[in-house]
């Protein structure tokens, strides 16, 4: 069972709807016991970074230690941004620090927020993009973006007049700046791939 973290931000329901559509049972929860017993964790998020990390509260440590022990974790949008060390959105905020790097504003001189469908180039070695080919469009809606500094991390980029980090993977830790739950068929395939990763993880335990 995949657990979607329920922490009173944005539209977590859409993520559950999309997993349900592909036949993956999810549970929306903020109970650490439930999260510990899951096969994988999804950290969604439509909110400002500071609000999201404070709404997460003590769950931050629970998620962090489970991710470090090998449980698959997928962060989406602000949930993805929280995987990094810090963000400068409305003040400086500490993130989970699971991936080295920082979140800052999208460089000026272009339309912000970056909102709409952009083409993501997908490196073959990133598990989340299995069977999706080299490039696909995904739906973005954000004003801040991550600068990844982690030498161990694999990164997918989109072009928005600069190299925008669209997705990251470090071992069992995955994140997408775009919204797979709102990216049509290609997005649903990403959630299916994460579901498969969780199933494989559960078999190994």
């Amino acid at each position: 069972m995949i657990v979607v973290i329920d922490y009173n931000v944005g539209n977590v329901k859409s993520v559950c709807n999309a997993f349900e559509y592909i036949g993956c049972e999810t549970k929306l929860s903020k109970e650490s016991g439930v999260i510990e017993n899951s096969t994988g964790i999804v950290l969604p998020g439509v909110a400002a970074f500071g609000y999201a990390i404070s709404a997460l509260g003590n769950l931050a440590e629970v998620i962090k230690s489970l991710a470090l022990s090998g449980k698959p974790l997928l962060g989406i949008c602000v949930g993805y941004q929280m995987l990094f060390e810090s963000s400068s959105e409305y003040g400086r905020h500490e993130g989970l620090g699971l991936v080295s790097g920082n979140v800052g504003p999208i460089p000026p001189d272009r339309i912000i927020p970056h909102m709409g469908w952009n083409l993501v180039e997908m490196p073959e070695e990133m598990d989340l993009f299995a069977e999706l080919g080299n490039e696909k469009h995904f739906y973005f809606a954000h004003s801040f973006c991550a600068e990844v500094k982690d030498a161990e991390a694999k990164i997918a980029y989109a072009d928005y007049g600069f190299e925008l980090t669209a997705s990251v993977q470090k071992k069992n830790i995955y994140g997408t700046q775009f919204h797979p739950e709102k990216s049509g068929k290609a997005g649903l395939k990403i959630l299916q791939n994460f579901y498969d990763i969780c199933k494989r993880g559960a078999q190994q335990c």
Partner: protein, 254 residues
């Protein structure tokens, strides 16, 4: 680079999708949840649902509709029609909509745009404008409210620019003169507005052929094209529209 977008529009009345000509003579076009799911599956970039009855009784119905749509639609969608308060916007966003469009209420109370943008972010706030060519002032358009039934003295181009300043993240621009005619978008109107604002503009009203979509993007400067009649009654599929535009050099999500 962001793609241009194809956006089917579902006008909803009494839980059915309907489509008229110049906002009149409505014709049934199917079930909103089924049609929404079909467009999502066929590769539409976004959807717009407009509650064209917009009565107090229909408020609750539209929230229930949004919840059902969200279970079956995996692309972003906008909901509009009769929305008057920040609380109503909150409820619709929590029910699964990505964006909410406001029209009459923003004219009556422009601060609604600012309040909504501050609370939810400007990416959630769409200013819908129903525009009619002015008879008294050639080359100008007047803003119409209450589902197009009531013309005002407000100039469309000025209102669009003001809407951006207040916090709208996008403009849904409907030409009442072209609506449902399938004779092409009003690209003079589209150009006048896209030149005046920096936020994306969705051209609406008049799509009849594939070339009309191209013209709205190239001549009108639209970021997205909205259509109803030509998709609901299956003149063209979403893929046909996208392939046509892509083959003419426009970046599309295909």
């Amino acid at each position: 680079m962001l793609t241009r977008r194809i956006i089917p529009c579902l006008d909803v009345k009494d839980n059915r999708v309907v489509k008229g000509v110049n906002f009149l003579n409505l014709r049934d076009a199917g079930d909103p949840v089924e049609l929404g799911a079909r467009y999502s599956d066929e590769g539409a970039d976004e959807l717009v649902f407009l509650d064209i009855t917009a009565t107090i009784r229909s408020r609750k119905t539209i929230v229930e509709l949004v919840e059902k749509v969200a279970e079956n639609v995996f692309i972003p969608f906008t909901v509009g029609g009769g929305i008057q308060t920040v609380e109503q916007i909150d409820e619709l966003l929590r029910s699964g909509a990505e964006k909410v469009s406001v029209n009459t209420a923003a004219v009556a109370n422009p601060d609604l745009l600012a309040e909504a943008a501050q609370r939810f972010g400007n990416q959630c706030v769409v200013l819908a404008i129903d525009a009619r060519r002015s008879k008294d002032r050639p080359g100008k358009w007047q803003v119409c409210i209450k589902a197009g039934s009531e013309p005002t003295d407000i100039d469309v181009v000025e209102w669009a620019a003001r809407g951006e300043e207040l916090g709208a993240g996008e403009i849904l621009l409907t030409s009442m003169d072209a609506d449902g005619t399938k004779a092409g978008y009003d690209n003079e109107l589209n150009k006048a507005v896209t030149d005046a604002v920096n936020i994306p503009v969705i051209a609406s009203g008049g799509a009849g052929t594939l070339e009309h979509l191209y013209d709205a993007i190239i001549d009108g400067g639209a970021d997205a094209v909205l259509m109803a009649s030509i998709t609901h009654f299956e003149n063209y599929t979403i893929t046909q529209m996208k392939e046509y535009l892509r083959d003419r050099g426009i970046p599309m999500n295909l």
